[in-house]
């Protein structure tokens, strides 16, 4: 569980990136943090694993204040996958890459072996065990980075812009993977500006603007709230855009799922056919 209490954060250069953020994320939640570049999204999530410590206010992870412990220790519970996998990959084989964090966290030889096999299978990378990560394609390297963080089985997973450069299939697989993690009880936090992806996942959505949280609620409500989205410079998902024009037909505005849209429209159409 993550508790953020009135956190302000100022970068050494003087920029105040967080201006009073209060937030609680419970175990097992799925949260999307959205907002324009510079709104403070990445700054905020870097407080979750202690990479950044608040200038004022408190950040507690499982009741421990982050100022009282190290990044390494917090990372055991909070796994952070960075946007660019090439900023992490450095080993000679995928296997060694995955073992890196496990060794840092003090797993035994036997446990390391087990976790590597588990992580490889989880992300369909078993055939690349002995391959050099630099030989893999972009999408495959992203999976290796993900595997190397999941390997130590953290309770929470933070994904920073996981959909950049991904094609439709890859995004769909990522969405399903997140669902799978959720069924295992993991907390998942994604930082993104991909509205369509968030619309398909329908998680809890937190909107940020200029260092503050301006909206926090269920995806369906937030992603159809035009005012809130405009303030955080986000475009409505296409289905929601269509439905804003259809209020004349007596249809509710808060639709983001395409199949729900289809059913609602067919109902209107069929009713008239009678």
């Amino acid at each position: 569980m993550i508790e953020i209490e009135d956190v302000h954060f100022r970068y050494p250069g003087g920029v105040e990136a967080l201006k009073g953020v209060t937030l609680t994320i419970r175990d097992g939640e799925f949260v999307a943090i959205m907002g324009q570049n510079g709104a403070g999204k990445t700054t905020l999530v870097k407080h979750f694993n202690g990479l950044l410590k608040p200038s004022t206010g408190k950040v507690r992870v499982d009741n421990t204040e982050t100022t009282k412990t190290s990044v390494a220790s917090l990372s055991k519970t909070v796994g952070f996958v960075f946007q660019n996998p090439d900023h992490q990959l450095f080993s000679e084989t995928v296997e060694e890459e995955i073992a890196f964090a496990l060794k840092n966290f003090g797993f035994t030889e036997e446990a390391i072996g087990k976790q590597i096999t588990w992580a490889l299978n989880l992300l369909s990378l078993a055939q690349y065990r002995k391959t050099s990560p630099f030989m893999l394609s972009g999408g495959e390297r992203k999976r290796v980075a993900l595997a190397s963080v999941l390997a130590w089985d953290p309770q929470m997973l933070i994904l920073d812009e996981p959909t950049i450069g991904q094609d439709h299939e890859q995004k769909e697989r990522l969405r399903q993977f997140i669902v799978q993690l959720q069924t295992q009880g993991k907390t998942v936090v994604i930082v993104t500006h991909d509205v369509e992806f968030v619309a398909e996942c329908n998680p809890r959505v937190i909107l940020m603007r200029e260092g503050k949280i301006i909206a926090d609620g269920k995806g369906k409500e937030i992603l159809t709230n035009r005012d809130a989205l405009t303030q955080s410079s986000i475009i409505l998902p296409q289905i929601a855009q269509i439905f804003t024009h259809l209020t004349a037909l007596g249809l509710a505005k808060n639709v983001i799922d395409i199949y729900e849209a289809k059913e609602k429209l067919l109902r209107v159409w069929r009713k008239a056919e009678e």
């Binding site: 324009q36 570049n37 394609s137 972009g138 999408g139 950049i164 450069g165 991904q166 094609d167 439709h168 299939e169 890859q170 995004k171 500006h193 991909d194 509205v195 369509e196 410079s233 986000i234 475009i235 998902p237 296409q238 289905i239 855009q241 269509i242 024009h245 259809l246 004349a248 037909l249 395409i258 849209a261 289809k262 429209l265 067919l266 209107v268 159409w269 009713k271 008239a272």
Partner: protein, 283 residues
């Protein structure tokens, strides 16, 4: 008039075990706005590199078949010659800008070509204004946002006044609003200046409405090639894994259930909303 034409183009990177593109035959007319899309690894980036001579001159490797740019054989002309006719904008904004001021970056290509200072000044100012970055021209590339950096890259290419501009996933690193602004700039260049635009993109929800011509690739081959609205209505397009715009997908789903929504496939939410209001307003 044909801007780009390829015949049975097949290319294998040096050291590659199989071709990245096979038997690609396409024709792009002058003034077209072409969208090239397909799953990751389908060869769209490789194909782009054939248009300005990076393949085969920069990348070496094995090229079979033919590629023509404005009638000229790409394999027989150097990249710096072709640069006068075709500009290439790449995915990563940061790695296309090398000068210490934006202005100088926009002038880079013209300096290489040996233009006079007066002519350069005119063209640089023109390009800066067209892309809306005139007031940041003296800043350093690192100081500005990703969206502004990409506009610098476009201005830099524009300054050479090419007939064709190819953009390889130019908005991958940008947020949707910045991406939209880039697409609007590109659309204006196509409409107002008649520049042929070849855009490689995944985000069809933002771009499909601009393109009159779409080429879908998968595993190095061209699967579909034709009018945007037609191709995006096909079920097989969705099955390849292309991210069809939700508006179009909804249209396909509803018409398959028998709903009558007119014959023109929508490519944007506005178009779809219009169709729905037409069809359902009397109910």
């Amino acid at each position: 008039m044909v801007a780009i034409e390829t015949r049975n183009l097949t290319y294998t990177y040096p050291g590659g075990t199989k071709p990245s593109i096979s038997d690609v035959s396409i024709k792009i007319e002058k003034g077209d706005f072409v969208l090239i899309t397909g799953p990751s690894g389908c060869g769209k980036t490789t194909l782009c590199r054939c248009f300005n001579g990076l393949i085969p001159h920069f990348y070496q490797g094995e090229l079979k078949g033919e590629a023509f740019l404005l009638g000229k054989d790409v394999t027989k002309i150097q990249t710096h010659e072709l640069a006068k006719n075709v500009g290439l904008v790449f995915q990563n904004p940061e790695n296309q800008l090398f000068a210490l001021s934006i202005e100088k970056d926009v002038a880079f290509g013209l300096e290489n070509l040996g233009f006079s200072r007066e002519e350069m000044r005119k063209r640089v100012d023109w390009a800066l204004n067209l892309t809306g970055i005139y007031d940041i021209r003296e800043r350093s590339p690192h100081e500005v946002s990703g969206g502004q950096q990409q506009r610098v890259a476009i201005a830099a290419v524009l300054a050479m006044q090419p007939e064709i501009i190819v953009l390889d996933e130019p908005t991958s690193f940008l947020d949707p609003l910045s991406a939209q602004k880039i697409f609007e700039v590109i659309c204006e260049l196509n409409k107002n200046l008649g520049i042929t635009v070849v855009l490689v993109e995944h985000r069809l929800d933002l771009t499909a409405k601009y393109a009159n011509h779409i080429i879908i690739m998968d595993e190095g081959k061209v699967c579909s090639d034709g009018e945007t609205r037609t191709i995006l209505s096909l079920e097989e397009t969705r099955l390849i894994g292309v991210g069809i715009p939700k508006a179009t997908l909804l249209y396909n789903l509803l018409t398959r259930e028998g709903m009558r929504l007119g014959n023109v496939t929508p490519l944007s939410s506005d178009e779809m909303a219009e169709l729905l209001l037409e069809a359902l307003k009397d109910r």
